[in-house]
Subunit: 315 residues, 4 copies
């Protein structure tokens, strides 16, 4: 398989590191250029010794990315930092593929919203994709089949996330002394991902995000009242039957079997006219870097799962 | 203060150990007799070296508890094991107080249901109290003010519990290799505490219990639609204004500040006609041993908070 | 018991918070004044809502501590921040007791080094005490009986600490994403506590400090070759027989039974001429705030264990 | 690459599951037969849903393994359970390769001890290999270069292991309520791996094994006195220069970068005539399943690292 060259902006953040990790076993792409801000001037193997032997790449200053000749650019940057870089690339006549994992282009009409299982057809061969947020991915995958079928009028969501979702910059929120043994809600009903969720899910979503005492993963419950009788099993089987990265489970899924993978595990329990849907993803996998590569596969015309079928660690 | 003597059945389980721990700093009672099954014949300080210096008590065989002369008996036993013991005590003409922390008498009309904040008046001077379950305590404290006021028609609850809630007997569920880094639902919509909840809460409760990666604590979200305008702040202030073990919080409460205490921290966020109430308790404290002693205080005519105001460890 | 008034500098750090927590159940002292830098101008119950109901104290600016009329001052400040404050107090003619939990005065000849079990006699009624470091406390308690008896020529120590030992300021070291599931050595053979250890322990100590995936506690192994036959059991029994905060254990001690307490648990295993001694303490308890109050007890003429016999949470 | 067929005994234990996980991305072998005791009669994908899509294998009863026609047999069984099976295989004239991950044959002269970095030449093309224990692997890799060079007379080792090292059967030791937040020594100076260590390391090893609050990994410190001047950097570089699964680190290695991999990370710090060597491995990787496949690679004439260069999850 010919390998497409990829430039990665944001090499030293958690999401960038996960792109690098997954790409090692991806047979269709090769990360050949790195760009960074604070990390510029170093090599990635200096910054992350575990990458020694896998990568030997110098980190260029972010501003020079506009001149890249790589076949694709992946942006793994904090909110507000990718907008100008994409503009510079386009102004420079860049002809390759762009995937922005960050939030800057999720409501930009130039970019296709990269929730693969919902918009696969538009993503095939696309040039510019805005990768969904981690919570947004989990919530939409669980709610959309129900709301598309008109079965529910609203959804009550509680979602727990690991500390890697807050990024590598230390804060009181991620201090292990306050995180271990704790659960803490934040941005109740006001999480920034609700914006992108509203675009694809036609019912109100009441969402309580929670910080949990673990590193990787997002695990959510979606409760709702069914407004009519329905064959929910058939509904989900139909929605995701041709989506290889979604695994339908008996009962609510556990978190651990998705950690380190690009899978979204989805399960549900119905009692009378009441339903709960559970969704488990790795926030760095299907919630960020994994889905970015799933999108890039489609954009480049590769099979959707290329490089993404690594099994989980389980323990 | 004269100390009332207390006999404890089930000394070596997690709940019994917590009764012993709290009782050390309780000025009104003194645990003077221990009864056990597998632990009978040993001393408690042999079983739990950390109790050396605090206790010097032999563990008698459970069957001999019917002859106790103690002022009160606390039962901290697995499901099904306290029913016969209570019958034997009563048949023997036992005149003291009985608190059953286990589940055997929660629907027994001879016992008063010991959710202090709901039934305080009936508990004053009572002789026989069935202590609520841990999840049942958290859920009822959060739902009852809303359902009593007729504000909601149903409640959507997701609740996460630490591993100490499963008791000391090892199982695949509490194995740290499957618990650390994981979240896992169980008994979805079918948790055994739903029975007792139905007795005090007049609306359907859709409850998803979840095993979490920590040892102590229960943390729940209760989502609901408000069917009329309401001053929720005033409602909760009114419901718990004279309940010293409930602390009302701005926004949803964190878990850690209740760990090691008998407090229930409750907070809420309202957005339009939608509400989420959060409740945090220590499953071994307000969810079991702490509430048992809170009940015993009322039964013995002591101030409700006697021995129960130890501050949390915080870290 | 008449309560001695205490002024606390550094109210919002982890150590200061632990002093406040322990003092709640201390019958002989009352914390009546708080001083802070970044926290000045707020109340402690605003900063730490869990202290509501226990404290109602305004935090004064640090500089005004020199005018305190309290019977004692406890300093719980980062390295370098207490030296000038103590000088100001003394210059101002302060006649009360001073305990510096920080490191500034551990080699200051005006202060007595507050390792109670080694220097109890000098601490009785003392006016100015430098509280030992957390690792220093554990290492000295384990090594000193052996080195004092001339039984060992050097000690090989590996010690693991929880994240609370790094203080409340977030850093990459305490980020839960790098701490959970990890072990990491730091300052190998060069930990700053080696200075104070050298003053009391007459043999070389080779010390490897390790960051562990938990919040509270220090747990160390001390390995050494015995250069002569010895009754080690008798040696430790003799060294700590009249030290109520040291508990001698069969075999190496576990960490959990000391968490939340001021106890140091010590145990050992001998095989031929080889020995390992294990020491477990709570870094915030016996390693900092607890020992500070143990010292203050002696300085004020109170029984050594006053307020310090709270049992551990166990779970 | 032609794939060699492999029969695995002990499919549902932690080690067997890890063999299955790693083998998914191994291009030279294919696990084609599973054997189990309690798991016999089920399929592996029933037992471990995360293996769905990767495996579709029925688990045969253990006793029928003697008739296997697979090119190789891997035994991942508890102590005492592989001896009779190997005898049956050999009695049956089995001509394939046998790797016993369990402890039954580590002192059996028919088997070669599979510490690759020490005995690579004997393992090339070998028919029967006894895979080293997890702690034994870490200790020998750290001590052997020093003891072979005659630089040390004894080694003082403290080693911490995750809960997966105790296997899948629940016990009080692995109960998360006693494991989270705790450190606990066991089998002090008497760990069963000391036997195999003595065969390859010519100096006394004083070993304190410790249970730690995490799932995967072994992390050890080896302290020793150097009895002569030595270029330790050159010594280790020489010992492991041609060993691709050993990574030499600056200073002591961290645990996390080896988790999920077959790497052993080794580092050291020298101060005067004193040295500490740190070794980090994944107990299920280089400590069990990974090393078993590393051995099988050599036995089958494949490059040593085939299928074993998956990068770690890092977070």
């Amino acid at each position: 398989m010919k390998r497409h060259t990829v430039a990665l902006a944001g090499a030293s953040g958690y999401t960038g590191m996960e792109v690098l990790r997954i790409a090692i076993s991806h047979p269709g792409i090769s990360i050949t250029e790195l760009y960074g801000a604070s990390s510029a001037g170093k090599t990635i193997q200096e910054l992350v010794p575990a990458f020694e032997g896998y990568y030997d790449l110098f980190i260029h200053h972010m501003s020079s990315i506009a001149d890249t000749k790589a076949d694709a650019v992946i942006m793994a940057l904090p909110h507000g930092e990718s907008a100008a870089l994409v503009d510079a690339l386009l102004a420079n006549g860049y002809k390759g593929k762009i995937v922005d994992i960050g939030s800057d282009h999720r409501s930009d009409c130039r970019a296709i919203y990269g929730l693969v299982e919902a918009f696969r057809d538009s993503l095939l061969g696309a040039d510019f994709v805005a990768n969904p947020g981690c919570f947004a991915t989990a919530i939409q995958l669980g709610v959309k089949p129900l709301s598309d079928a008109g079965l529910i009028d609203q959804a009550f969501v509680t979602g727990v996330t690991g500390s890697s979702g807050s990024g590598a910059t230390p804060s009181s929120t991620t201090h292990s002394s306050s995180r271990i043994g704790n659960l803490k809600a934040y941005k109740v009903f006001e999480h920034q991902h609700l914006d992108e969720i509203r675009h694809t899910v036609g019912v109100p979503v009441h969402f309580v995000p929670v910080s949990g005492p673990f590193v990787r993963g997002i695990w959510i419950t979606i409760q709702a009242t069914l407004n009519q009788e329905a064959d929910v099993d058939a509904l989900f089987a139909n929605a995701y039957g041709s989506s290889p990265m979604v695994r339908l489970r008996q009962g609510l899924p556990e978190l651990k079997p998705v950690i380190g993978t690009n899978f979204a595990d989805i399960g549900w329990v119905v009692q009378g006219n009441h339903i709960v849907v559970g969704v488990a993803i790795d926030n760095l996998g299907k919630g960020a870097a994994g889905q970015a590569l799933q999108n890039l596969n489609l954009m480049l015309g590769l099979p959707e799962t290329t490089g993404l079928l690594t099994p989980p660690q389980l323990l």
